[in-house]
Amino acid sequence: MSAEAVPQGTIEVLALPPASIGARTRGGGWGYLPELSLLGAVGLLMVAVGYTRSRASEGWGEPLFWWGLVLIFAPIVFRLFVIQTLDRRERLGLLLVLQVLLYFVRMLQYPLAYSSFDEFAHWRTAQDIAATGHLFQDNSLLTISPIYPGLELVTNAVSDLTGLSTYLSGRIVVGFAHLLLALALYLLFERVTGSARLAGIAAALYMTNPHYVFFDAQYAYESIALPMAVFVLFVAARAVHLGDTLRTRLGFIIAAIIGVWTVVVMHHLTSYALMGFLLLWMLASLLRSRRTWDSVSLGIFVLLGLASVAFWLVYTQSRALGYLGPVVTSAVHQLQLILAGEAATRQLFHDYGGDVTPLWQRVMASGSVGLILVGIVPGLYWIWRNRVNAAVLALAVWALLYIPSQALRLSQAGIEVADRATEFIFLGLATVLAISMTQVRPNVLTRRVAIWALSILATVLFIGGIVAGSGPDWERFPGPFLVSADARSLTQEGISAAEWASVNLGPGQRVATDRVNSVLMATYGRQRVITSLDDNIDASPLFTSLTFDDTDLNILRDAHIGYLVADLRLSTGLPRRGFYFSEAEPDAFFYTAPISRAALTKFDDLSNVNRVFDSGNIVIYDTGALLNGT
């Protein structure tokens, strides 16, 4: 493949800078790929050492982590900016290397086992499929997970065929999905813009989205649905390409339809976002395209997609709407209250344990949002002034959703919606930002200082995105135990207690406990944990009330709780996440003092409650006698 080879055909090729600087083709078309891979690997090594030092609470682990990330990202982006005549192989190779390294940045954070709440929830679904050989088993951790089983199905296939554990199989599946994402991003951007260079830059800019490195690489349904959705968009873009033979076009249409079905089974929100974008693209096509083929093809995808979304909703008894509806309405309601001055905005850059984000991180996170808001203006103006194709027009309109999504971040409920919207909206943002950087003043890119400046800006976007998307430092860095801090609250003691429960109590016992021990009991322990999401019962008073009263007894009996798992460490600090049990607990996000130890151990004084297990911090009580009315 020659340098800067781009697909020709229906899509207007964007303007390209007239000359390149420092253009070199070496190494048989692979260019500086080996050298940049080595630099990236050194960056990953720094990240790994950074994690290890953080585990030992050594302060210098954190700067090592951040500089490691810069070393992974910045040189590759610089190379993508600098050479107009870069060979396509090198461009793609650089993106794939970047993708692999970033995936390992997430993996090496907790390399031995799953660590986030979402990962445990999906792991439980995968365990249930492996144990029963069938789908749609109840999962009280995340009730929606079993009815969108795409990720777990592929994991089950890999696990069964290789003999590997569900954990390793899941990591392999998400890794392959991320390779698909990098490929599909590049091919989509290349197809819709007609420029290999712009595609490389846009794909790299997409990787600066706040969720890319950590959230999208976890073992969760979105991590596989997103690559599939981008793949569908690429295939759809290819299907409307008239330069191909009918057989090839039909092939891409079939692939797109099958892809849409797959996304529908994989993840609710991604399938809705995909439908939304395809609809927008179809409308833009009706407005812009001179050919009816484009609009008809896109119309087929939209109709079939909407039909399959509707079918799956009916098939799963609309549980997705019941799950998503309250989140969205609560976010909008809170925003309305904030705008009306009736509610305070969420305190940014503070966690619920009292930690404040360091100044430089606040500057980076705010700077990245500011850069995006300023950076899209020239790109949007350029798109407005030039006759771009329907896909680019749709992506530009899609990018505008970034502004309202950021407003949602002001409310506690809205942050969830804003976070989830980011990875979809960034498809548009990356395109518009890449156009801003390369098309508005193409001649600027012939000057080395401009390329340095753009590379630094892209790196600021990347680092700022990670700060904004991966939470406070304690969430990013492994280290000693913290109270209600998800991965930082996972200890061998908790895992061993859950394994003990699986062996000695038997699976499927109804257990009430805090958020962290819930995920451990549900996965390592194979227990049926009581959650407000599935049982509509808030069991937190059992652990927070100082005396055992009728309210507690009613909770026990209503939820048929056979065992209570009390983690005495909850009394040692405020919950970093804002709550100990679930967002439904009365003092969630407003705790001013930790739970009393006396409240956690009040069951010791009840004669008909057996203290059957003690590992120092974790105590398990058998409440079976109370359920029987004795």
């Binding site: 089950n156 590997l164 057989r247 092939g251 590992s615």
Partner: protein, 324 residues
């Protein structure tokens, strides 16, 4: 034709290999992992995209994306079908689904390629040899004979020829990129090793000591007691059992290795209906004999089958390294 369809041959061999590995019940090994991952995530997509698209119509990167994307679709949508069937999602059903899709698509591709090759051969122009010269063909001057290949055998000529070939091959090897890429892989692997070791060190840095006491589900007066440790070094313990505050029995010393489990079953005397007694177990570490390390308690109620003397039955299975 065979050379063109070498990819399909490899696919068939991998599918056959996976069938043999699964059929023979070989547990997870490097070959099984490689074949399994390929069969689940690569081969169905590759074979199907090869069956649907012509090689020339789709570029390498696009084919790679199609391979991964279609493979994921086959696993997800095919998995839904398997779930609806009585066999469910099992190793054999996955193997038949993914292997079957791959083989069928490969056969279709092979058929298409054969047909295409035949059509190409028919359309190929065949030059007709016309002789315009008056000279008969037989009398045409003989072409210059090709140079004779070096004679086989150990001699200077053969050695020189092999050396020359080797030099040519070695000259073409891109040493620098290969060396740098190899270094990159080594550094990458070092990062993984460091992170994994760090995580293991953290996981094992804090000792875990569990004590439990569970009434037997079938014999309510029988209690199962156990200690489990995960510690950096072996430890000596003492376990004391009391009934209603009075000392009842004790086990001393109990030696537990770094990762060890000790279990015992105790059958208590039966209680009269309506009576209750509080059974408590306290665990002490030998180096802190007065500090209760772990504490569990169970309330026993009357009505169970009477037993005159307490029986202590150490469970035989998980008591390695134990001296009760």
């Amino acid at each position: 034709m065979v050379r063109e369809s070498l990819d399909l041959l490899c696919i068939m061999l991998i599918v056959a290999g996976e069938f043999i590995l699964v059929g023979s019940g070989i547990a997870s090994g490097p070959v099984n992992i490689l074949f399994g991952v390929l069969l689940a995530l690569v081969l169905p997509g590759y074979a199907l995209s090869a069956a649907v698209f012509r090689m020339r119509g789709v570029r390498t990167a696009e084919r790679a994306a199609l391979t991964l994307g279609i493979s994921l679709s086959v696993a997800v949508l095919g998995g839904l079908v398997l779930d609806a069937l009585p066999g469910g999602l099992e190793t054999q059903t996955w193997l038949f689904l993914l292997g079957g899709v791959t083989v069928v698509a490969s056969v279709i591709t092979l058929w298409r390629r054969t047909r295409h090759a035949a059509a190409t051969r028919i359309l190929e122009p065949h030059p007709i040899a016309l002789t315009l010269s008056a000279t008969p063909q037989e009398q045409a001057p003989p072409e210059e004979a090709p140079p004779e290949p070096p004679r086989l055998g150990v001699n200077r000529e053969t050695a020189a020829s092999i050396l020359k070939m080797l030099q040519q091959v070695l000259r073409r090897v891109p040493y620098r990129p290969l060396l740098i890429s190899g270094l990159a892989v080594a550094v990458f692997m070092s990062g993984i090793v460091i992170a994994v070791n760090g995580a293991i060190a953290q996981q094992t840095s804090v000792a875990v000591t569990q004590l439990w006491m569970l009434p037997d589900k079938n014999a309510p007066t029988t209690l199962h007691l156990g200690i489990h440790t995960e510690a950096a070094q072996p430890m000596e313990y003492r376990l004391a059992l009391s009934v209603n505050g009075a000392s009842y029995s004790s086990w001393n010393p109990i030696f537990l290795a770094t990762t060890d489990t000790w279990e015992v079953s105790v059958t208590m005397p039966a209680l009269a209906p309506g009576d209750e007694e509080q059974v408590e177990a306290d665990l002490y570490r030998a180096d802190h004999p007065d500090t209760i390390l772990r504490h569990v308690s169970v309330t026993l109620s009357g009505g169970a089958a009477p037993t005159t003397t307490p029986t202590v039955t150490p469970s035989p299975a998980p008591t390695k390294g134990t001296k009760p």
